[in-house]
């Protein structure tokens, strides 16, 4: 019985990965902006909708993040560190503005849609999903709403972000 469950779990993981790699590599081949991520999202999503089941185990995301961190680390150079240092204050100001925008959105959710304030605050703060999900429950916010909003936010920006930003930059530069 345990062997059967284990075999099913491995089979599902392989199917999700096959869907993701097919989507990611196809989108890369078609030169779609950020194709590897976008194609992988859509590939795994297609598998998930066709055969619902548990999500991919956390270690896969960790391996992906370690690989990305490794690739980013390779582009480190002394000049880059200097640039990061110079940008510290402007980025901090940008982040404060984003948090303030989130507060503004939470007031709209509270006043216009009668959302309770804890849920509105946690749904519109631009933070990490896991930190917000855990702490939102502690203060009595509706965690499933907070998780749904942030998941859709991250997925929306992964799917819509690259083509939209590429278009925006083309319009900007007149290219």
């Amino acid at each position: 019985m345990t062997l059967l469950v284990e075999r099913e779990r491995i089979g599902r993981t392989l199917m999700l990965l096959a869907g993701a790699f097919t989507g990611g590599l196809a989108a890369e081949a078609l030169r779609i902006p950020a194709g590897a991520v976008l194609g992988a999202v859509l590939g795994a999503l297609a598998v998930n909708l066709a055969r619902p089941g548990p999500r991919l185990p956390r270690p896969f995301r960790e391996v992906g993040k370690i690989l990305l961190g490794t690739v980013v680390g390779l582009s480190f150079a002394p000049e880059l560190l200097a640039t990061v240092g110079e940008l510290l204050v402007p980025v901090a100001v940008g982040v404060v503005l984003m948090i303030m925008a989130g507060l503004g959105i939470s007031v709209v959710l509270h006043r216009v849609f009668a959302w309770d304030m804890p849920t509105a605050l946690y749904a519109s703060t631009p933070g990490g999903l896991s930190e917000l999900a855990v702490t939102s429950e502690e203060v009595g916010a509706r965690m499933h709403v907070v998780v749904a909003v942030h998941t859709v936010r991250v997925i929306a920006i992964v799917i819509l972000g690259p083509p939209a930003l590429t278009l925006l930059i083309r319009l900007w530069t007149g290219g």
């Binding site: 869907g19 590897a36 999202v41 992906g64 370690i66």
Partner: protein, 180 residues
Amino acid sequence: MTDTLLVLAVGVFGGLIGSAIRMPGGSMLGAMAAVGTLQLTAAARYDIAAQWAVLGQVLVGAVIGSTLDRRMIASFRAVLLPGAVAVAGTLLAGVVIGSGFAILGFADPLTSLFGLAPGGMAEMTAAAISLGASGPLVASMHVLRVVAVIVVLPMFLRPAARRALRRQAGNGVPEGGRDA
């Protein structure tokens, strides 16, 4: 080949340390810091095949895709309009602030927009690298965002949420809100 093995080993080591000490963005930042240190201190520059970045991007994308199921869609459908306002408002704020950052000349437009886009750190860095933006700058900008939110959460958000809950309880509104 030796270069690739060394770089990957250093990345995995840094990632595991970052994850173990629970730093924000743990495994990604740990790997970035360890490989960055190796790169900055080495006599010659290290490099690995571009396919490793694609593998990382596919894995991150695969996990995102596997989290979106019918239940999540139903959950979002139940709060469709306000949920869409929250998502669209946050994304729009990111685009406006990112554009301002680029117009003021702090970074190129692509780096500015991805660095201040309210997406996940790993997802935005993955997308930024594949579009030719500066990966380290985008990752650094997101580190600052995540750290700022983590600092702001206990200082402001929790007390504000608790105060709002008390006020609602005083007004006879049930916990979880009117539309819970």
